[in-house]
Symmetry: C2
Amino acid sequence: MIHASEPTALTRPGAIVPDISLASRLFDELRRRTGGPGGITRTSYGLGEQIAHDMVRREALRLGMRAETDAACNLYLTLEGETGGPAIMIGSHLDSVPSGGNFDGAAGVLAGLAVAAGFVAAGRRPPVDLTVMAVRAEESTWFGASYIGSRAAFGTLTSDELDGVLRAGDRISLGAAIDAAGGDTARIRTGQPYLDPARIGLFLEPHIEQGPVLVAEGLPIGLVTGIRGSFRHRHAACHGTYAHSGATPKSVRQDAVLATSRLVVEMDAAWQALQDAGRDLAVTFGQSATVPGEAAFSKVAGRTDFALDVRSEDSETLDVMRAELRRIAGRIEQQEGVRFEFGPETGSTPAKMNPAVIAEMAVLTERLDVPARAISCGAGHDAAVFARQGVPTAMVFIRNRNGSHNPDEAMEIADFAKAAEVIAALCETWGSADTAAAA
Amino acid sequence: MIHASEPTALTRPGAIVPDISLASRLFDELRRRTGGPGGITRTSYGLGEQIAHDMVRREALRLGMRAETDAACNLYLTLEGETGGPAIMIGSHLDSVPSGGNFDGAAGVLAGLAVAAGFVAAGRRPPVDLTVMAVRAEESTWFGASYIGSRAAFGTLTSDELDGVLRAGDRISLGAAIDAAGGDTARIRTGQPYLDPARIGLFLEPHIEQGPVLVAEGLPIGLVTGIRGSFRHRHAACHGTYAHSGATPKSVRQDAVLATSRLVVEMDAAWQALQDAGRDLAVTFGQSATVPGEAAFSKVAGRTDFALDVRSEDSETLDVMRAELRRIAGRIEQQEGVRFEFGPETGSTPAKMNPAVIAEMAVLTERLDVPARAISCGAGHDAAVFARQGVPTAMVFIRNRNGSHNPDEAMEIADFAKAAEVIAALCETWGSADTAAAA
């Protein structure tokens, strides 16, 4: 389908130049067609997501790419490669949270499309098949389930989820929503995978950064080292004893606020120490509260309820912090005469990004003079599903102001272009001596 | 009225023996007549308080004491002294909180009556007039105003209070309640004092301990060194910035929970340091909470609301802690990028108990082999009003389990007897060489 011809526009002789104007046009169209005064809404398996899928399919077909969908309506847009080796996949999701931003998810798909368009414009094939994947239903705010599209692609979405989880708002079941979008839940229920991890040489997910690091450091892109796993205690409590604030001496107090404060401060110190030792970690007490109706300004607090969220790229670091939590809490229990009750632990397993791919991208950023840094990814992404399937996986973060999941997401197209340039170079040289170690 | 006769019962030759069986009988009668299954209720200027006043008046008259009331219905029961020097007053209040205990307040009045009965039984007069005072309306839960009876006695209860404060429950104004009890609010409004501080040589308030110190240390009584004053920030807040718990690095967080926790821990350290240096102090963060609906387990907290209560016997120590609070908070604001807003400061002035009286009572406890310790009083009491009027003032705490303001108050009559014994000895020797320094 793709025939060799002369390159039309190049910054370096022979280099693939991603089609940023295509991406820019599609970002504008997405904003126009799926946005409103309150922000962007592209409901999972709903109208906005479908508009986005139809748009990128239309553009891919114009570029001469092959379009396929699986039983969960994930969309695969493939530019045929020079050889039949394991494919390069570039992708992300096209749904958004309600009243969200235009870039979370879409940037990854459009980056893939811009790179594919670069190959087409250069009249060249990628070394292997280049598949741009538009993943369905990544934003768990809609169905309260994680990674619906990518798990379905690997055959791990369950019948229980298809029948049991309902979409926020219209309360339509996930299975009904997939079938309404043109999917095939009967096939999903068989658990038969659509994707074969062995046939994927690389899954690359470009994504806007959801934190403030790249803005703070003045860097257009970040090379993600891993997607953090976590352990969480959403319903922890500290039990002390209510007592008169004026009549109860320090030595006999069992002060839940003081004990919880010590825990917060000492867990923070443990975080600092591990971070100083080069470990990836984030420790957050996002909620902490005395009990309304029981606590009073003139009473030593007898109880606090709090939530703890510990994240790391590294399972061992999570284990270290889990042990630290017990040790610190145990000591505070002794000192303060309180009792901690952490409640059930939930969490997720970290997903390491492929070190060889990261190393190769680091070389490319230097060669292309694109300032970049290694960065940890704290939020969940479909890339984690691919990594856990054993697919060599990488993520590129693109600088973005104001966080994500809100209408104020602000990615600049110049930064997007730099990310696409690095990705194009990676694709172009994929499988050569430079990247042999990566696959 | 009082004639010398032979002592009837003495543990030491010549010693005044308080009439504990009288007090014990009155405690029982109080419990029977003002208690119910839910606890004791002696409403300020209500039925229960009136029953209690009538009971002690009846007993005092039986003992040959003189009974008087002032315009606020405070009751003064006087045993005439050998000389006309400034009187000894022993007293406390007879009201209780709703569903409270039998001892808070009443123990002080009955201790005074037991000592007076001891003089009567011994056929002796006290060195100066001994006046047992039953103060009205001390429990601010009823009218939301502090020290109503004792302030009225000194002419400092205001017309605004008489008209403006309403009793919890029946919404009767304080003035109407006083008049209904037989008082004279027209006279109270003149601001003319009933009591002359210069005519009071000692105000002594025996009271159950409301904290756990004496129980913990196995001591029947405590000699109060001062009634703590306070400064309070009931509506303080810490303003940080909400952020993604997984995507926001430590260095850029503005974490309100961490900042508030640091404040709690560092204020506690400042307390410990001042306490180690011999200062009286209590620092309590009784309430602290992230904002429901804003905070989430997966978000760095952008705000906490908290309350701070700092108490000390010593105004200078309060000033030191006020400065510490600003210094510590200022440093944390710098470190954590947050902003503290402490809101309005309320509070009260400390009232020192008379050191010479405390010293004399310490000598007496040793002589009588009554184990005792110096102790700080964290709650407000009428004694503070007398101290601020310049009256030499003291308080004796009596060991009590389970705190106060609840039906489980548990003072043992043996401990009450030890307190009464010390007080009797103090009265007996009042004005002698031993106690000359006290007045």
